[in-house]
Symmetry: D3
Subunit: 243 residues, 6 copies
């Protein structure tokens, strides 16, 4: 429903394969962070992607994984040359003091080396105000959460280890994590998964780990509760909430 | 989907019959404005409802159709006596200078005549802030539009004629209407349906009527456009929009 | 003094008979709520007024006593026909969510039935800002309190019982009342006059009734205190006031 | 009416002789600016006042006519010694950057010379907020305009010439004046009365003098218009006012 | 450095003699308050200055020492006649309710007596906003503290006694003072220097006098601490500061 | 003067060698961007610095030149091991969306690899509000411009080419530049220095290059103007400024 409404509202395409099929359109997208993290080297990832993909797939290089965008864009241009269609800046929020200026800098460095045809593709927390602000420099946008006009709980799926060693892109903490909850006050704490016990910073009591396995081998292992069961759980939780 | 989320979020029940079935609950509600408008007399409507409904259905009287709520509540109490479970105030927004005070007044008039057990049920443009404001007097709420947290386009379905004569509840203009659009500037105008031609108040040119019959005998008579057709229509319309 | 200043400042007339005589003008006004409350039926009140008043008195019908203004205006038009000069909306503040829209609705319902000549007269808490806001629909205003530019203590004289039974117009609580004061903290409480003792909601102690008879058979029964006596009473009362 | 309300509201006394008689109280006040201006010397005025007044009249010296209050207060103390009851600061608004500090300074200079019993009496544009602000230093207040809680047009009666020579207290322009009005645009201009013709600074056309003699030998020489005549004059004047 | 920057930024001249020499300009200025306080009479001071100074020094009379500026300006004009080049208003902040109006008043009184050529020179807490506000009336400005755009601690050097008797200009407290500090809480207190002991208004303990003689016969009697010693003193003092 | 005031106000040390000598302290600092840009590789720069510096100099590694700070900190830790005293984040403003979070991320990545003793040193646009905000994570600060409390014009000296090829740290545009001014409107434009002529984007006319050589072989080649000459130049420039 979300992808259909985004598309009929004027978006150029959608990235989720099943959504695209439901509305009778071809899915579209760019290289992923997963590829670069597995290669552990941006230049190597650009080469592998270039060799593997058919010629009609546009080469859009993610340039923000390890390097600063300015040097990442130059690496992509060196590796892919004229085949480079666009660079994608998915810069984490913590590195966006003046994002427009980062784009202008990437544009300047590409231009003074002759890569004036390479487009700039922007993603990550993009909304309608930012599009108006970035339009002078950016050529395209990947919009996620903000396509909805309800408040949303933002979450993301990230690679945090490669071959059991901690590795995550800029702006994401490395290492497998555990999420803990205090049985008394409900306080949450994130630690490395290798930590075996956690103590509540609020009350000093032991906390309980709350991550659960919901799917095994593609099958759901915890059944759905009924609406009435969910409602009772919600009302139970709200008892201790102070307005 | 909306009713399911409202219910699991803590609402006591839902009114749409099909929605209630989908979540495995009994639908619930009150008397309708249609009944009162067809009777053209509130006292008569209370009597008919009381005769027709089985004993286990609670008598909740709508008291805002023709009369002021204060006198409407007294009429309902006179007609239904101890069987009156609640009065429902669906007061139109244009009559709500100080809605809490209207409720307090209804409460006072019922109480000084001995109807201290009759509950007060409030509906119409109710949101979370108003509920906190009204809680001292109101016993229950019927929440519609504001159960969504996206912006919505508010619309309602109203009886505006009975036996071809104009009649509508307080706060709604009587008579069958036509909606006109100016082909040049897109301006809208509402007139009685009996008006045969309309002239644009902006440019002085004739306007075109835009109400269309979408269903005949329960069947849709205009087929669905594809997502791509809708998208083209949207982009076409946006051409003339100034940001 | 107030009426003289209002008149020389541009008002069209004054309603208090003695004031009009003092400035050498004819008093002017409309039907009163008292008439309608005594008749207990708006249509009957319109008929009686129409029969009793000489032909040169304009028929201005109060339409907000029991009914909603929209239906009240239609009743007045049905009863008085072409003799109806204006309808007066003295709508209580608690029923004025969007007062301009109520007027527009009355205008619409009168117009679609052919009563386009009937004027709309507005009264009740009218000030200079509201006049500018209502001018497109209202034809005349009755201004009371706000003709003064000092802060005032708003009070009104209302019929609350007819033949010893509670009855008051919309927006006014029915029944004869007593006003009580707590001798300790000065807190006030309003109850039905039939209540014989009242207990302070603040401290739980008995309260004293403070309504006094000042006139009997048209004669003042409590003499005037001197300015110095009043001053001492004021200073006495101010002792416990915290700034 | 104003003096009566001020007195019953808690003021200690009133200054207008006829008002005091009407409420049965003794009028009270201080030395006037007229005396000092006629003497053309503050020290001389203090001596004359001290000789002429009976012993039961308190010596309250106005100290702001020519000198700064600090030096004026010292002059009064030197002339009157122990008979000085209070100094009155009627400082013009244009000299009140930090009025509390001026009072503190007067207090300091009096105190270091031993006049710790001399009171400080404040007048001129005093309202309820200023009284709260000045209470630590001031001993009494003379309140004029602000005793009313309606907006007022502030005006004052001042000596501006003595023996045909220009002389006015600090903050008041010296010399007899004429007030001119432009017959076209209504613009006002103030000049010395000796100026024989005035030209409108707006349109360059001659202006007309508008000061009129209303009393001769204590008798009114222009009769009162009726309320209706005043009303017509007001409406005439309002024709050209843009809202 | 400050004078050089002020001058190259557009100021017409500087008053400190050594600063003027360093930038190769002639120093410039007006009569001082010291002269008037020593004469104890403004008219006498104007005469002495006029006799003593060479003809090429402009006669700029300070008019705010004892008198109100309005009368001070008239005294200066009477004494100096056509030789009066300008009057200087160094009005203290506590006397500047509407400083522009004081200047306009001085201008009016000079003009109606024929002194239309006398200029008005303004000093005391003048900044860039005030200059824009006063430009219609003022002819020149003496700017001190606000020539800096860092926050500054404002201090001044004033005559407070003449021949051992207390005397200070308007707005300055007369008499030699001592500054006391509470050894416990650091609170400060100012008293006459003749006061021999002071008690802390906060804690009731004796305070210590903190004024020190730094120069005797033009020589510094307390040596400079090193930067490191100052730094330690600063850090020591900051220990008890709550942020 | 600035360094002396900063030091006596509580700063721990100063970096300019001559300033340190003047106040009798040892200068202190960290590795420079110039070293890393000349090495064109952060790891190489860390090795060279470590070999060249005596053992008593603390190893503080700049980690923001090419890499993201998170990976830069890990490189420094790998190269210097236990000799690494601190990492310095001089992150450009355009990359500081949430600078505290970047520090926390560096702290996390260092900690999960055992480098819990490595300090975090922050520089670049640091002021007193930011210090309070960062204190939980940062161990030290390098404060520049904001040590002054006057408004300043911010400027910096940067390496933009190495061996005639464009190269600059993150956040700085690479390549030697020329600054052009429009002789008509004063508009400024920055281009690569290799651009031979520039056209004003405002008026289309040729612009003039305004960079001048002020020092050759350590000697000033343009003499100082006098204060009066500078003042005339300032006033000349201000002629066309609209306030």
């Amino acid at each position: 429903m979300i992808e259909r409404n985004a598309f009929i509202g004027g978006c150029d395409g959608v990235a989720v394969i099943e959504s695209a099929e439901l509305i009778g359109e071809e899915p579209s997208g760019t290289m992923s962070h997963t590829l670069i993290l597995c290669c552990q080297d941006e230049r190597l990832a650009y080469e592998i992607f270039d060799e593997a993909m058919s010629a009609d797939v546009k080469r859009i290089a993610l340039v923000d994984t390890f390097q600063d965008e300015k040097f990442g864009a130059l690496y992509a241009a060196e590796v892919l040359g004229e085949r480079l269609y666009a660079v994608r800046l998915d810069t984490p929020g913590s590195r966006r003091g003046n994002f427009l200026r980062i784009m202008q800098e990437v544009r300047w460095e590409l231009d003074i080396r002759g890569y004036t045809n390479v487009r700039i593709f922007i993603s990550g927390d993009i909304d309608e105000d930012k599009i108006l602000e970035y339009n002078d420099v950016a050529d395209a946008y990947g919009v996620g959460t903000h396509i909805s006009n309800s408040p949303v709980i933002n979450f993301a799926m990230d690679i945090v280890e490669v071959d059991s060693a901690p590795l995550a892109k800029r702006g994401k903490p490395s290492g497998l994590k555990q999420l803990w909850r205090c049985p008394t006050g409900g306080q949450r704490l994130t630690t490395l998964a290798s930590v075996e016990t956690a103590v509540c910073p609020g009350c000093g009591e032991p906390m309980e780990p709350i991550l659960k396995v919901r799917y095994t081998d593609g099958r759901r292992v915890i059944p759905d509760p009924s609406p009435r069961q969910i409602r009772e759980h919600v009302i139970e939780q709200l008892k201790d909430v102070e307005l």
